[in-house]
């Protein structure tokens, strides 16, 4: 029978980042199982934005250190491509007084942690994005370190580095069961074709399907998935440096280094589930809002729309760590729409937890027990 030291389920950015970080710390028998192809789940469907601007100290540290790692990822992973990191910043807009007051607190917190964000007036916002129609804008925050990264290329960079270090990556390989021993410890995984891999450690990095991979081990994870729609335009000449984001509208819009604009808008009525279809209504929703805010975009053509799934937790913060009832079962799930940008640190922290190494950063508050204890995390800056 085939044996492994660690089996990772999920070939998105988090699965490959965890795999690489285990391998680079000396783990040699790591197997990564992916049901379809790399980045075919939420990673490859995401908005491709990365930002340091968060509202809790933990998220600021996780995001800051992830971006610092992204900055040198091509070199660290000896990638023969380019992850296409464009640091044009994020301009986050405030349309309500209460939001503006929260943004002032956020910037003070971010600055105390070395994040170079700042408050901007409507006039300054317009200098940063000349085609922005400021309207009833109160102000905003801007951080020049934030930006865009190509999720496929970043996943490929991690996956190929992991493979060079000996990680076995199996695509088109669906896991159907996780077996435990008499003491309740992880013992093996069973694949769709009947093959069994014996392993003392399983990592659930299954993104929007994490609850299903939880059930395989008898673990009821407090997560659900919900659809978010998105579109991309034809490439046009560079005209927008930063991501423009409004929590009030649930809207984000960024021009990639390739020239295309990626944009999306939240729908509060979106039902829970695994549907990755798309609607005409979304095109009208996002087009109406974005062309009101930035009329110059009226002339840019949409070439493609799709959708992806957020894996949501009750406090919209991820769950990281071992499940106490099932020793050897680790999760990196519930990223609630911001798993891509945190992946460099998620990989480091999960590898340290699994190998029993001293943690680079204390994220014990992200363990699954916080929900039962009522210790939810209150992050004010989510879209």
């Amino acid at each position: 029978m085939k044996t492994a030291d660690i089996v990772i389920i999920g070939g998105g950015i988090n699965g490959v980042s965890i795999a690489y970080n285990l391998a680079v710390r000396g783990c040699r028998r790591v197997v990564l199982l992916e049901r379809k192809t790399l980045a075919s789940g939420s990673t490859g469907r995401c908005g491709a934005g990365v930002r340091m601007q968060w509202g809790t100290e933990m998220n600021c540290r996780l995001a800051r250190d992830s971006i610092l790692r992204f900055e040198r990822l091509n070199q660290e992973l000896e990638y023969d491509g380019d992850i296409e990191f464009k640091q044009g910043g994020y301009l986050i807009l405030a349309f309500h007084q209460r939001q503006w007051e929260q943004f002032q607190k956020n910037v003070a917190l971010q600055n105390s942690l070395g994040i170079p964000s700042r408050l901007v007036s409507p006039a300054e916002a317009r200098r940063i994005v000349p085609h922005l129609e400021v309207g009833d804008l109160i102000g905003g925050t801007f951080c020049p370190k934030d930006g865009h990264i190509n999720p496929f290329k970043a996943t490929q960079a991690y996956a190929e580095a992991a493979a060079r270090l000996g990680v076995e990556i199996r695509k088109f390989t669906e896991t159907v069961a996780i077996g435990k021993d008499a003491a309740g410890r992880v013992q093996r995984v069973t694949l769709a074709d009947g093959e069994v891999i014996e392993t003392p450690v399983v990592v659930n990095a299954a993104g929007p399907y994490s609850q299903l991979v939880g059930e395989m081990a008898g673990v009821a994870l407090p997560v659900h998935s919900e659809r978010h729609q998105i579109l991309v335009t034809e490439p046009v000449a560079p005209k927008q440096g930063p991501m423009v984001m409004s929590f009030a509208h649930g809207l984000y819009c960024q021009q990639t280094p390739h020239g295309s604009f990626i944009m999306g808008i939240g729908d509060p009525h979106e039902p829970r589930g695994f549907d990755t279809g798309h609607s005409w209504q979304f095109l009208e929703d996002v087009a109406s809002k974005v062309t009101t805010m930035m009329p110059a975009l009226k002339e840019v053509r949409v070439v493609r729309q799709w959708s992806g799934l957020y894996n949501m937790t009750p406090d919209a913060q991820p769950i990281l760590g071992e499940i106490p009832e099932v020793p050897g079962y680790f999760v990196a799930v519930g990223f609630s729409g911001h798993g891509f940008m945190l992946a460099p640190m998620t990989g480091v922290l999960l590898a340290e937890m699994i190998l029993g190494l001293a943690p680079t950063m204390d994220v014990s508050m992200l363990n699954v027990g916080r929900f039962a204890r009522g210790e939810l995390i209150r992050e004010p800056s989510v879209v």
Partner: protein, 104 residues
């Protein structure tokens, strides 16, 4: 001469300027479905959404793997079928609102 040996500088995807050599490199690395070639290279992601390169990519995969073209799954088709200006969608929403259709 096998297709995989033909001029590597040939442009497979005219919208995104992707050459045969780039497509073949991905296939050699193990990215052997049209969706993988599309997503990891942007081949077929441009204005024409793969109308021209779709069949060329299938041929390249077939030549490299020995699979018959008919057995290779097509890349995902996504709307809109042809490029549409954002302003047109916004106008459609404004007109339906004016007609009392509101936010459907």
């Amino acid at each position: 001469m096998e297709p995989s040996e033909k001029s590597p500088e040939i442009i497979i995807c005219r919208c995104e300027d992707i050459t045969a050599a780039e497509v073949r490199k991905l296939i050699t690395k193990g990215y052997r479905t049209p969706d993988e070639v599309k997503r990891f290279s942007r081949c077929g992601m441009g204005q024409c959404q793969g109308r021209t390169c779709r069949n060329l990519v299938l041929q390249e995969i077939s030549a490299a793997t020995g699979q018959e073209v008919k057995d290779i799954p097509m890349a995902t088709f996504r709307p809109p079928t042809k490029p549409v200006k954002l302003g047109l969608f916004a106008k459609a929403r404004a007109e339906s609102a004016a007609e009392g259709g509101g936010d459907r």
